[in-house]
Subunit: 463 residues, 2 copies
């Protein structure tokens, strides 16, 4: 990152007039908004604004539009493909002060929130109601950011991703207009589905300023477990058969032997065998969970599962899933100072065993350290290829491996990103995955953001 | 309908050269493609084509584009808002010969089909696999048409609508280009969600030529029942409490006393009491279904449910759900020769009792016959306001009632159409429901169909 000077002085002066201390051009604030969690080159915004309401976002957008200034919506910076890096400078719109839970409709199983609310903050607020919000990426991301990247996590196999859990949005468009994309009704056939267009649009079509989210009742009974397998193929085959049998698993996570070593290093209390593991959770009634557990054990034992450890107490379950959610950071313990080049393959479940087999072979050939974890009930798995960011050759080898792994997913009828999104990091795969559909995406981008001011350089290029 | 002459002679001559007998300008064929099931004025297409492949649809679209000729995709004509009426003439693309089930992936719980396959034909094909496709509007609609209108039906409360059950589409664009909107992977964050943009676009953005659909395993145990209630409010309160308790009802249908009378007239074997009814179905394991049934009965009995009739045998269940699926036709038995002006309110479930109470009051005030049925687990209910189509005053009163009922849904935070779509019949409500979001829809329409050739006059107007 060069120490580029702050541009857009007239706009910044105009915004400062009414935002006061809620606009910053200070070096440290700009630096915090120059990067995300990914291995991607940072770039400074010219200024960072901290709006507190939809009206303020609208006014900021209208001003940026008038001054032809690029904008990047910013949640908490936990994206993994350079999503929030202001590649062309401009204004970073930090939503952290838009962190109010506006409405909880217990009867309708939904909540209306501002975009800066984090997933943990929402669940904290919901605890007393007996309801829960289920989408859980590793980071304690903001809900606006999660909608923007179409995030998922460990519960998606049972409860869906942000695609299924966002009922409606309020969005500020590139020119400052404010729209609502839907109602709180559970279904609708009234016109084009704008909600799903903005979910996953990564800030390139508008700024999400309000979300209506689906909630679920907390199950009567929850039971979690870990077990290990003689080899990774046996773990994968267990999952495939369980899913195909219609077992309503709430969570089913695969962690390979390399990842398990990282987790034991990161958290020595964990002390789990360094063999391929499944982390599982079962939700239902007392009787239902018992049935599920028995059915799962019958399948898993055919494939040599061993060392079941059950966690039925809340604190034990919390510890277990905290360990899983910290997998990305734990992976880095395998090589302190390293950063991860992350992959996000997702394939039809019938192709999962083949995809993982080929991926593991490629890691071995490349001679790199790359722990594997996966939301395997969805056919989704990640590598975190550990690299020394100063070692250009190693970085190049890691990127080549990531590319090969992504193409295996495409060859097997899958996608290069199950849940992380495109950002700038995966744009090179867009044509390979989508063919001419990319041109339709570009047409939509042009229609909604003709000046290319909304997070430019992400998802699709327009001229 | 006037006896307008066939236009677009040069285009039709060009298409006839290679389509041969699979293009028709005959009066009876054109007449069959001039209307749908709705109370909407018919209009003739200039010609009807019967393509058999994506390549043929692409070639037809390219020719229509070159000749600036409007096109209307046509499934089976069971839409209810004038969707398939060629308001500006042109070419009706009848997909009935694109009726092949291309792939069934039992392991991945999905199927790939052509758009002319009907929902019943798909389930017939699936029977031996133990899998099922769950979306079931009343008519035996085509799957292409169901995707285009974002249809649902009686199973949506448990298994979702077409929104949740279409995984990917192949679409021919206005100029003949062919795109794929996604892969068979269960989730993806790779760019804009084009699948959901085309689901519900009613043929105004492209022609659906292939669908990848989600399947479910047939449950181990199915149990269906009917029961009746002292008044409609009691039936609705039962449903609300059951949904809020998290009971995973597979089907829960409300039929008011007027509708029950129609059903008994339409099918005298049915012989059910002419009181407000719920038709129910429970899916799960043996033990799971038993638990669900018991929980439901506990709730229903608080509200005075009586006359439970259980159907556990397949043929009894089939009879029951056939009766429900024929509700639209049964309603017409109440007044032979009448046609239905249909409403499609959908509200948050907390507002359902209020919506139905106000709707029933309005029917009484209007002095019209309007049986009420509903997929009440989703908050969705229909009136079929019976009118003599020759009686202009009565038609006007029915439309005024429909408008008032639709506005009640909007007042209560809902939508004017839960599952039927906009077509031409509900365009007047678009701005009331969506506000300025309609402008964004129009921007998208302009971007994808700048010449306004795709089913013009439906969903959104562009200049």
């Amino acid at each position: 990152m060069d120490g580029q000077a702050s541009g857009h002085a007239a706009l910044i002066a105009e915004l400062s007039d009414w935002l006061g201390e809620r606009i910053s051009t200070g070096a440290s604030v700009r630096d915090l908004h120059a990067r995300d969690e990914a291995y991607a080159a940072p770039h400074l915004p010219d200024a960072v604004v901290f709006p507190e309401s939809t009206e303020e976002v609208s006014r900021i957008m209208a001003a940026c539009h008038a001054h032809r200034c690029p904008v990047v919506p910013f949640g908490i910076g936990s994206s993994l493909e350079g999503h929030v890096v202001p590649l062309q400078g401009g204004i970073s719109i930090d939503t952290s002060r838009m962190n109010r839970i506006l409405e909880v409709h217990e009867q309708d199983l939904d909540a209306v929130v501002q975009p800066g609310v984090t997933r943990k903050a929402l669940n904290e607020e919901l605890r007393a109601t007996g309801l829960m919000f289920t989408v859980d990426p590793g980071a304690n991301a903001t809900l606006g950011g999660m909608a923007a990247t179409r995030a998922s996590g460990t519960n998606a196999v049972r409860y869906g991703t942000m695609r299924e859990n966002v009922l409606a949005l309020e969005v500020v468009l590139a020119d400052g207009r404010v729209i609502e994309t839907g109602t709180r009704a559970r279904k609708s056939s009234a016109g084009y589905d704008l909600t799903h267009l903005f979910v996953g649009s990564e800030g390139t079509l508008g700024v999400i300023t309000k979300l209506t989210l689906r909630l679920f009742g907390q199950p009567e009974r929850i039971s979690a477990a870990t077990c290990d397998f003689p080899d990774i193929g046996a773990a994968v085959e267990t999952v495939i058969l369980a899913i195909q049998s219609g077992l309503p698993l709430a969570r089913v996570e695969l962690l390979d032997e390399v990842q398990m070593r990282g987790m034991n290093l990161y958290n020595p209390d964990l002390g789990l065998p360094e063999r391929p593991h499944l982390f599982l959770e079962f939700h239902g009634t007392e009787a239902g969970v018992e049935e599920q557990v028995q059915s799962f054990r019958d399948i898993a034992e055919e494939f040599g599962a061993a060392n079941y450890a059950w966690a039925t107490k809340t604190e034990d379950r919390t510890k277990l899933w905290e360990a899983r959610h910290n997998a990305y950071y734990a992976a880095q313990s395998l090589r302190p100072g390293a950063r991860g080049v992350v992959t996000d393959s997702c394939v039809p479940i019938s192709a999962l065993a083949e995809a993982i087999r080929r991926t593991k072979e490629m890691i071995a050939e490349a001679g790199l350290v790359a722990p594997l974890v996966g939301h395997v009930g969805d056919g989704n798995f990640h590598l975190s290829i550990l690299v020394d960011p100063e070692d250009a050759d190693e970085v190049a080898r890691a990127k080549a491996l990531a590319s090969k792994v992504s193409h295996v997913a495409l060859d097997l009828g899958g996608t290069v990103t199950g849940e992380h999104g495109i950002g700038s990091g995966k744009m090179a795969y867009m044509r390979d995955e989508h063919g001419d559909a990319v041109d339709v995406m570009a047409d939509i981008k042009r229609a909604l953001d003709p000046l290319n001011l909304m997070n430019p350089g992400k998802v699709v290029e327009i001229d």
